[in-house]
Symmetry: D2
Subunit: 352 residues, 4 copies
């Protein structure tokens, strides 16, 4: 009859065997710590919150100390306290705070990591993506997808500050990061400002004379007023998600899928006093409070957040949100690596 076998060996024999294996670049699987050990997904990352009150003065101080000639990008990294040696906020996602001062440009380059920008402060300015200037006003989401040329310019009299979100840790994990500098500090403005928004941002109406060929969204600017109005409208009419309240995804209008193949972006509204149920999923997320004040309980730990704070929820961490205001809605922006896990058939989610 077939069954597992049991063999008693001396430690000396085993040790000698293991030494022999080493000489041939071989090693036993049965002593490997990273195989077969985990009965559930587990992220090295820990939940963490960064206060806007801490970030802002330091971003301004950075703008006094370092120029955009010295720093390709003047960004403060929001690194996960438990991940060492990698530019990572969760396992696969990076968040940073970038500041561009009046008259400055953050010079043109492109890279295989995809990026998003959620504007926090500013009175204008733009990100130039492949020649099209995309306006940057507070609450706006701007994309600079994989391998698109981009530079950032502040044409106003006030600092521009935004949240950077990148899949850089993922692309580094996959050893696929490539970076290229543009031949000049900035690209010419070859397209009219607002063109892609006008073409692709008008409800479900899309140009019939051309088909997007890139894998990312042809719409790369999602203005805040449109997002806020949508949330306010939906929240009055339907319950939304038990775990997230009213939560909308910034989709790629040519597919209905995520705006970029590696990151999905969301905006959600928690009604005054709303308290969501707990769940967990192996995708991680970075959140930014566009407006409002609340608490997100993550694996039993309360992350309290207010206007413009940033926090992260690692993969498989159980979490629930609540709005601490009894009168005002709270608006949370977030981005996740959910599309990566779905594409690879590795996504898991469970109610708690």
């Amino acid at each position: 009859m077939l069954q597992t076998s049991s063999i008693e060996s001396s430690q000396a024999d085993l040790d000698e065997f293991y030494r022999t294996l080493e000489t041939k670049e071989l090693s036993p699987l049965w002593t490997a710590p990273d195989v077969g050990a985990s009965h559930s997904p587990k992220s090295r990352a820990v939940p963490h919150r960064w206060r806007w009150a801490d970030i802002r003065p330091l971003a301004l101080r950075a703008s006094e100390l370092v120029g955009t000639k010295q720093a390709e990008r003047r960004v403060l990294r929001l690194l996960n306290p438990a991940i060492k040696g990698r530019s990572a906020t969760t396992n696969t996602l990076f968040a940073g705070i970038q500041i561009v001062m009046p008259g400055e440009v953050a010079r043109a380059h492109r890279h295989t990591p995809s990026a998003l920008r959620l504007v926090i402060e500013g009175e204008g300015g733009y990100t130039n993506v492949n020649g099209e200037p995309l306006a940057m006003l507070p609450g706006d989401l701007v994309l600079t997808p994989n391998w698109t040329w981009h530079d950032h310019a502040n044409t106003t009299g006030k600092p521009m500050i935004w949240l950077d979100g990148l899949d850089l840790p993922l692309v580094n994990l996959l050893e696929s990061a490539v970076f290229e500098e543009y031949h000049a500090e900035s690209q010419p403005l070859s397209e009219a400002q607002g063109l892609s928004l006008v073409k692709h941002g008008a409800g479900a109406l899309q140009p019939a004379w051309e088909r997007p060929t890139a894998r990312h969204s042809p719409l790369m600017h999602y203005p805040w007023p449109q997002a806020k109005a949508a949330l306010d409208g939906v929240s009055g009419m339907t319950a939304g998600s038990p775990f997230d309240g009213v939560i909308l995804e910034y989709t790629n209008p040519s597919t209905g899928g995520p705006c970029m193949p590696t990151m999905a972006c969301f905006i959600q509204l928690l009604r005054p006093g709303e308290r969501t149920r707990s769940h967990r999923h192996n995708s991680g997320a970075v959140y930014h409070a566009v407006q409002g004040r609340g608490v997100t309980e993550v694996d039993g730990q309360d992350l309290e957040w207010g206007d413009k704070d940033v926090f992260c929820v690692p993969g498989w961490a159980t979490h629930a949100h609540r709005n601490l205001s009894a009168t005002e809605p709270a608006y949370l922006f977030s981005f996740t690596d959910q599309p990566v896990l779905r594409a690879l058939d590795l996504y898991r989610e469970e109610e708690q």
Copy 2:
């Protein structure tokens, strides 16, 4: 050596053979008129234009002569003059003009043919689709896709008149029409008015807590002001199509594809004085001038159109548009069977 063979037979032998074939329900292919004859697609349909000035008084007269109890739908059919015995405006598309008077309801039913409504006159009223009332104001596009329950109600003091577009001729050609009456005159209003528009019509923002499962668009109401604003915006920034000017498709936001699997809907703007180039495609189309005055040349014949007129362009007919006004844009709505031909790998298009 292989080659075609040549055989001389007497007509008497052939005739006798053909008679024998008949007795066995067989027949020769080489004498068949519908095989191998066509060197290009050819539609039986002819171009035709219906004047609003003719339609409107007759629609009002219909409302005096026939009730919605007698007529399941009080619709004037715009049948192609060259297609006999079928309710068809082009080979696969049907267009009609429907009128619902104050206080009336057009009773609830469902059917496998898909339908669209482009509102021409009215001050309100709604189409109830599966319990959700969809507002109907001039220029609005409303869908009642395959097998959705729907009834139409006029809650205002003025007549409601709209253009009906259906794939009925196609579904009849495919012998797949099924019709079912609802158990009551109208469905209850189980959803809030505007719900699907609020959920699915806000730019590229889409609900993250549910995924549409139907093959048709979850958005079934596309308001005119949004369409007009999009066209006006785009027309100032980019050329659009050489054949159609600025033309936008009403897409399914969950796929980026056509709003229904069998019909695609478009809205286009011809700038003052604009004159497009000629092309042809084997999809047919029905047009409705939402606003403006122009000429569409179809296979050498000028179809002149003004406000609210309807006209059809058969498949493979060469056509070009021009706006007759030197100062005002013209807005054309149209629907086609292009998705059918694309799905079956039969679509063809060529510049002329």
Copy 3:
């Protein structure tokens, strides 16, 4: 309160109104016979069976009377007795019997209707598709998809006879038939015989150095021995379909879908004495008994079939099969328009 309206009108008023409508190319929907009438799909076609014993001598007689110079294709049409004026075996499918005599070629052409060939008699010969000769032995399925150049050559000393299956009626219904003659009687043999079979027919192993770009299968020859062996193997191991016994689809290996966008092909085995349950679907089908003897009950009518007979089952006809032999399996080939109805979201099926 909203409700349907009831209006009493004199017949004279209505008649006058209808006459006026006519002058404007308008007509009432409420008197139209083809709108809203059908409570279930309904095909004009009737079930019918053609005996091989009748077909074969007439095919041979045709080869004495008509050359392939006179007849572009020497085909006997198997037209549905209830469909008049169209080359149609079911509403959308055409079946014919083609015969090519020793030394003959059926000359090269291409057309938008897609075709399949199920070989009935022959000792070799080939169909040349875009320069590649595809072998034709009894039971083999050979495809000549939409717009591929093809000619048929008999390089043997015996007649070649096969079943032709085309979507010609569908393509004609969609007014999209285009036909083009090749500049010579036959194409050069530019590819090795068996190339596509070797490249794409070996289980799930597919060439890694190229990706098929056409919408149809890159595999265009499915040999009978492979099909028979698969059926025999599967039938010993699993029950298969309650409605069809062990039924396999000839798929497109680059998609897993139907071999062509408009027609799906199947081969099924009914075990000795097997009797299937009844169902119906709005796709129609043409069957050919490759081997065996049975009865297919269609809407209460028994179609008895033996070796090489052909029969059709119209859309929505209730049908069940039984193998009349207590000792031998029966093998049925069939093709249907199911992919068309699925693509358009019109497919319906129900157990009876």
Copy 4:
């Protein structure tokens, strides 16, 4: 005018600033080593070859020292010499050599990492996947996809040895590894041996009565004789790839895509004396010489291989193959993470 700014700061100011940042879990991006540095993809892995002559005796020795009760899997890991602390042969792929002795079973479990088995030695035995025993003969490829229950049993009198391929390093990088033990040592044999091969392995013929719902291939056993015959057939008829000779992919027959979402498997034939051109791609690969003798030049380094040797080619390493025999073909099996990079729009390939 907009331009990059240049600021001179003292090191003391910068140091103080960096210290302050640290107190808030912030850090400068402009000093980060892992951001923006790489002008091309770069793998930590190095090319390496493991000799079968080394592996085999050590595998047999392992079977004397460790039982399958002690070792969940008796596997020798082939770890990349340049990757420390991870069970990884390339960045995302793991290769091991597993041995199961007569009468033994490697007990049942499941895990989110997907696995493949390429059999090297054995006279039978099977892998039981979800109750179906899949035969294991030399050269056979057997899949145990993500979250399928599986155990391995040696029912013969000789050792079974095979190459294990897993995406374990990838799933670990994505922090998504989950492992679960079955409640017994082995699963019951609930399905007949050969069922899925019979159902899904017969050319393009696929069951019509069921649609696979999993994301992985419904075919999980690809026998060697079929693969060899396909290669031998194709190699006589067409050139294949300039970089790989005749190379076939083990596809998922229900999609035409890779057999599993995270790994693609290939079998290739190098003709006697064949020498391929160089290219590189950011996917990495593990190779196993099923039969033959050759050299693969990787980034200028010659990896010579013979029967049953294993070697790895890291991502972006330039490589070309040559068959050292002037008379015998060489057969190489390989697996890669190409589907991962394609799914995420990160795949890059270039000719050298």
